[in-house]
Amino acid sequence: MALLECQHVTKRFGGLVAVNQVDLQVEPLSIHSVIGPNGAGKTTLFNLITGFYRVDEGSILFEGEPIHWLSPTHIARKGIARTYQNIRLFGDISVLENVLIGMHTHLRSWVFEPILGIRHFLDEERQAYKRAMELLEYMGIGEWAFFKAKNLPYGQQRRLEIARALALEPKLLLLDEPTAGMNPKETEETMALIKRLRDDFNITILLIEHDMRVVMNISDIVTVLDYGEKISEGTPEQVRSDPRVIEAYLGRGAATAMAMATSSTAQGD
C-alpha cells in the first residue's frame, strides 16, 4: 500500500487550474521527486497535501485514510512534516527552540504543569532539549543552538528547517526545493544528506525540485508536472528520456536535440 496517495486531485484559483486531476502514489521509504518548470503546480500540491488549501476535487489518502478534510494541525499530527521553498523559520527565537517547536506534538504539558513545575514536565523538557540538540548535531549545526534563527548563515538555515521538520518524527517528509539558492557543491551535499535522512530516520521523502538534474541520482520515482497536469512518471531514466518532459522544459522541437545531448553525456560518464 502506498503511504501517500493522491487521487484525481484538482485545485482551481478562479479560472486558473493550478493542479489538474493529478494522481500520485508515494511508496513507503522511497525518495519520490516531483519536478516541473516554475508554475507547474508543485508547491500547490504540497499545500494541498499539508491541508493549507482545500482540494476542489479528488482525495488524498495517508496510510489509507483520507486526510484532505483535516486541518493542517491534524495532518501534521498524522506524521507529515514539510519545509518551505523560501525558508520559513521562527526567526526571532533561538535555533534550539525552533527544533523544540517541531517536537510540539510529542510533548504533553500545557498551562499548569510548567507553572507548578511538576516533575513529569521537567523530565519531559530535559528529554526534549537533549533530543533537540542531538538533531541539531546530526545536521551539523549544534554549535549555533543559542543563536537567533534569523542570524544563521543561509545554508545553516536550510539545515535548521530540515531539523525542525525531523523533530516532528514524521513518516513523510515534504521538502520544497531544498537546494534553492545553493551552489553545485552545496547542492550535492544536500542531496547526499537527503539520502542519509531516509536511511537513518526510516522516513519517506517527497521532494520538489525544478532543476531536474539535481534529483536524478537520488530519486526512486520521479513525477513530472506541467501546467498542473502530470505529464510523466517513472524511474529517473524513464523520465529523462520521455519526449514530453523535454518538451515541457525546453519547448517544442528540443526533444530530439536533448536526447542526443543526454546520450553523449551518458557516454562521457
Binding site: F52, A81, S94, R108, P114, F121, E125, R164, L168
Partner: protein
C-alpha cells in the same frame, strides 16, 4: 569653507527654531520660576542652555572627529550658537515694537527680561549672547577632557541637575538634616550642587572597578571551591531584598506621593505582564485590553460596595477576598469569549475587532440601562479594601506590598510559561502562524490560553485598582489605557519581562515625575518618547536570545563551547 558656513547656519537655525518654540509656548518663562541651583540657574535658563549645548553638539557631530578640536570646530560650534543668540535677540527686540503678544500671548515683557537677564539695552543682548556662547563652549570643553573623565564628569553634572529638577521626589527620601542642607524648596543649594557633583564623580569613577570585582566574585562562586563566597553572596542578596521590602514601611511618612505613583506603576506592570503574554509572546495585537481591566474592576466594585440597592436586594456586599476570585474568573471567561470570534483574524483586523470589544464594555458601563447594576456615569464608590483579620489595608504604601506580591506572581507565571511547550507554541504563532500550524500546534487552544492568561492578569490589576481608589468611574476605562499598556511594552521591549517593568516606570512613572514641567508635561513627555524610540527602537530592555533554566541544567559546561549571541 562654504560647507562649514552652511553647517553653521543650519545648526543655528534648527537650534534657533527650537528655542523660539520653547519661548513662545511659554515654557521658558513658566519654568524660570524654579531655581535649580540657588541664585545661579533656573530651569528656564537650563532649557535655553540645553538648546545651546544641543546646537553645538549637533554642529560638531557633523564634522570629522579630528577636525572638531581644531579652529574649525570652535568656529562652527560657536558660530551656530551665535545664530541661536541672534534669533533670540531679534525676538527680544521685536516683541514690543511689533506687538507680538497680539499673536503669541507668551511673548510678554517678562520673557524679554528673562532673555536679556534683566539688563536693558545692548548690554542685555550681549549677556544673552555670552550665555549661549558659554553653553556652546561646554560642548567644546568636553572634547578636551581626557577619557574617562569626560564621561564621568558630564554624567555627574547631568545626574546632579536631574536631582535638582526632581527635587520633590528625591528630597523627601533623605533624612531632614541632609535634605535641608542639599536642597532648597525649589532646587539645590550651591554647596549641595558641588557636593553632589563630587560624590557622583567619585561613585561613577569607582563603579566599573566595583562591578568588575563583583563579577570575579560571581565567577569564583561558580567554581567548586567557591562555596563560602556563594554563601556570602546569597546572604548579601537576601539582605538587599529585605531592605527593598522594608523600604516602603520606612519611607511611608515622607513619600505618600511617591507611593501613589508607585502603586499606579505597579498596576500598569501587572497589566503589562498580561498584555505581554498576548502581544509579546503570542503576537496577538489586542487593543481592547482595557476591557478585562474594567471587568475586574467593576466586578470587585459591584460585589463589594454597600451602594447599588438593586444589586443589594439579591447579594449582600462581599469582602475583598470573596469578590477577588469571582472577579478573576469573570475576566478569564471574558478573555476566552473575546478570543473565540477573533481566532481567524490576524494583525490589523484583530486589532480593530479587539478595539471594538474595549469600546463595547465601556459603553455598557456608562449606559443608563445598566445603571442599577453598574452605577452609570457616576460610577461606584465604597469598594472594599483588602483585610487581614482586623487589619485593613488602607494606605498607598500598604497597597504597594499587595501589588508587589501580584507582580511577583505575574512574573513567575510569565517566566514559567515562556520556557514551556505552551510558551514556545505562542512564540511560533507570533513568528509565523502557518508554519506553527504545520508543526502540529493547535493554534485555537494556544491563542485562547494566551487571551485567558492575559485577561486574568488584567482582571487582577482592575480589582486592585478599584479597591485602592475606593471608587471607580467609567472614564477611567477608556481606550487610552489599552494604548498606554501597549506603549509600555513597546518602550520596554516587546516580549521582555524586565522591559515591562522598565517600560511601566518610563511611561507611567515619568509623566508623574514630569509634574515639575507643569502644563508642559505632555510636551516633554512626548518629546522623550520620540527620542527614546529614535535611539532605542527595540525598546529600553529588549529580550535577548536567552539560555533557559532547563538548557543550563541539561547542557551544563557544554554551553561554554557553543556560540552565544
Amino acid at each position: 569653507m562654504k560647507t562649514q558656513l552652511r553647517l553653521m547656519f543650519r545648526a543655528g537655525l534648527i537650534g534657533g527654531l527650537i528655542a523660539l518654540h520653547l519661548t513662545l509656548v511659554g515654557m521658558v518663562e513658566a519654568l524660570n520660576k524654579r531655581e535649580i541651583i540657588e541664585d545661579i540657574i533656573t530651569l528656564g535658563q537650563l532649557l535655553l542652555m540645553g538648546v545651546g549645548l544641543g546646537t553645538a553638539v549637533y554642529a560638531l557631530g557633523k564634522l570629522p572627529r579630528e577636525r572638531r578640536t581644531q579652529r574649525e570646530g570652535w568656529w562652527v560650534a560657536l558660530g551656530a550658537v551665535s545664530v541661536v543668540a541672534l534669533i533670540l535677540g531679534l525676538l527680544a527686540l521685536a516683541i514690543k515694537p511689533l506687538n507680538l503678544r497680539f499673536m503669541f500671548q507668551n511673548a510678554s515683557p517678562a520673557l524679554v527680561r528673562i532673555l536679556t537677564f534683566d539688563t536693558p539695552g545692548v548690554l542685555g543682548l550681549v549677556k544673552l549672547w555670552a550665555f549661549l556662547l558659554f553653553s556652546g563652549a561646554l560642548a567644546l570643553v568636553y572634547l578636551y577632557i581626557p577619557q574617562p573623565w569626560d564621561r564621568t564628569l558630564s554624567y555627574a553634572v547631568g545626574i546632579t541637575l536631574l536631582m535638582g529638577i526632581l527635587r520633590a521626589l528625591v528630597a523627601p527620601l533623605l533624612p531632614d538634616i541632609i535634605s535641608d542642607f542639599l536642597f532648597t524648596p525649589s532646587g539645590l543649594t550651591q554647596i549641595g550642587a558641588v557636593i553632589l557633583v563630587v560624590l557622583w564623580v567619585l561613585f561613577l569613577h569607582y563603579w566599573p572597578d566595583f562591578k568588575a570585582r563583583l563579577e570575579t566574585w560571581q565567577k569564583e562562586a561558580q567554581t567548586p571551591q567557591g562555596a563560602p563566597i556563594r554563601r556570602r553572596l546569597n546572604i548579601a542578596f537576601l539582605v538587599a531584598i529585605l531592605v527593598l521590602l522594608l523600604l516602603p514601611a520606612i519611607l511611608r511618612d515622607k513619600g505618600s506621593y511617591l507611593f501613589e505613583v508607585l502603586d499606579m506603576v505597579g498596576i500598569y506592570i501587572i497589566m503589562g505582564l498580561g498584555l505581554n503574554i498576548v502581544v509579546g509572546f503570542a503576537g496577538l495585537l489586542d487593543l481592547g485590553y482595557v476591557a478585562f481591566f474594567a471587568i475586574g474592576a467593576y466586578t470587585m466594585a459591584v460585589l463589594t460596595t454597600p451602594e447599588l440597592p438593586f444589586v443589594r436586594q439579591y447579594i449582600p456586599p462581599m469582602n475583598f477576598w470573596e469578590a477577588l476570585p469571582i472577579a478573576l474568573l469573570l475576566s478569564l471567561v471574558s478573555g476566552i469569549l473575546l478570543g473565540v470570534p477573533v481566532l481567524k483574524t490576524r494583525g490589523d483586523y484583530l486589532a480593530i475587532i479587539t478595539l471594538g470589544f474595549g469600546e463595547i464594555i465601556r459603553l455598557l458601563v456608562i449606559s443608563d440601562l445598566l445603571k442599577p447594576i453598574l452605577g452609570g456615569a457616576q460610577g461606584i464608590t465604597g469598594v472594599a479594601r483588602p483585610t487581614f483579620g482586623s487589619f485593613v489595608v488602607n494606605e498607598s504604601w500598604e497597597y504597594f506590598y499587595i501589588i508587589l506580591v501580584t507582580i511577583g506572581i505575574g512574573i513567575f507565571i510569565s517566566t514559567r510559561l515562556r520556557d514551556s511547550r505552551l510558551g514556545r507554541a505562542w512564540k511560533a504563532i507570533r513568528e509565523d502562524e502557518d508554519v506553527a500550524v504545520a508543526m502540529g500546534i493547535d493554534h485555537v487552544s494556544a491563542k485562547l490560553t494566551a487571551f485567558a492568561t492575559g485577561a486574568l492578569l488584567a482582571g487582577m490589576a482592575g480589582a486592585l485598582f478599584s479597591s485602592r481608589l475606593y471608587s471607580i468611574a467609567p472614564h477611567s476605562f477608556n481606550v487610552l489605557i489599552s494604548i498606554n499598556v501597549l506603549c509600555l511594552l513597546i518602550v520596554g521591549g516587546m516580549g521582555s519581562l524586565p522591559g515591562v517593568v522598565v517600560g511601566a516606570l518610563a511611561l507611567v512613572g515619568l509623566p508623574e515625575l514630569l509634574r515639575e514641567f507643569a502644563e508642559f508635561r505632555l510636551l516633554v513627555y512626548g518629546a522623550a518618547l520620540v527620542i527614546m524610540m529614535l535611539y532605542k527602537p527595540e525598546g529600553l530592555w529588549p529580550e535577548k536570545a536567552r539560555v533557559s533554566r532547563v538548557a543550563r541544567e541539561v547542557f551544563g559546561d557544554r554551553l561554554k563551547t557553543l556560540k552565544v549571541e
